[in-house]
Symmetry: C2
Subunit: 185 residues, 2 copies
């Protein structure tokens, strides 16, 4: 295994986590709205996702994953395991939508979920509460929200990578200097 | 070596390339403006870059790399090698600036450079013209502009990764499901 270089870790703070979550819809809009379709629909081959698919996946997370799981933790604790998250449900559902519709839907759902989060006004004691992940076992509310943030960031990185790789041949000799075209992902 | 899965490659088109380049300043602003400093200054350890440093690096590219090199190709062809690009020049220079100043400077420089590019009105014959990279040898104007795009995308991916890894410990058991916390980069 490679070792991953690591800087100072941040300790979870709800306000800092929320600051990332509330920006993602605007980042996606600034990046993808009205972008030529060749970019929006580019992917990394069969069974990989385009930027369009990634926005659909983020919508599905807002609908079925983060806040619903948080509410299970707060209401049922570890006694009721989360529903498994279907990573592919959105592909069929969104195929006739436009990117603009998906960007709007994501922004609305995210804003609503952050409003719910704000109203919960979670204190440290509640962030420590735990639930049962169907595969990972015991997880805390704090870990769930931290994962929500990292999940956003992971998919922003994926959009960068998918788009960059569509130009793998076009950069010519510069390919040697562009790590995003080489990294195993 | 790992094999990298690859989707359909895009053929370089100036209009599609420009569509990405013109969006990057707004993406950075939507993402980083007024974000808590803990995120903006997070890094991956000694001699790695924070989101703040990355914006400074992008500014330096606008000042010394892309358009200046394009102009060398158009004016001197292969007879005059490019100046080597100093990847670290900006760190000292920007240390007393605010992120907002850097975001503004980048947006201005990028807009000006895209205006220059537009005025050049490059046709296929000019995109085929070649220059001499000090390490890579012969490169074309087309490859230079494609690399400009991929360079933007690579640094957007880097921002995602740096921020995500600041939460490496906070996600708890979910670390197993978040590839951005594991990939060698």
């Amino acid at each position: 295994m490679f070792s991953i270089q690591q800087g100072a870790r941040m300790k979870f703070q709800l306000k800092e986590a929320t600051a990332v979550l509330e920006r993602t819809p605007a980042v996606l809009r600034a990046w993808l709205a009205d972008l030529p379709a060749a970019w929006v629909r580019s992917d990394e081959g069969p069974d990989t996702w385009s930027p369009f698919d990634i926005v659909g996946h983020l919508i599905h997370g807002e609908e079925t994953d983060w806040i619903p799981r948080l509410e299970i933790i707060l209401t049922h604790g570890e006694s009721r395991p989360f529903e498994p998250f279907d990573r592919f449900a959105q592909l069929e559902k969104n195929k006739d939508k436009t990117l603009d519709e998906l960007l709007d839907a994501f922004a609305e759902l995210r804003a609503r979920n952050l409003e719910t989060l704000k109203k919960l006004d979670l204190q440290s004691r509640q962030l420590d509460l735990t639930g049962t992940h169907p595969e990972l076992g015991r997880v805390s509310a704090r870990q769930l929200i931290a994962t929500w943030v990292v999940h956003d960031l992971g998919h922003l990185a994926q959009i960068s990578r998918v788009m960059a790789r569509a130009y793998s041949d076009e950069v010519g000799p510069w390919k040697a200097f562009t790590p995003i075209l080489h990294r195993r992902t």
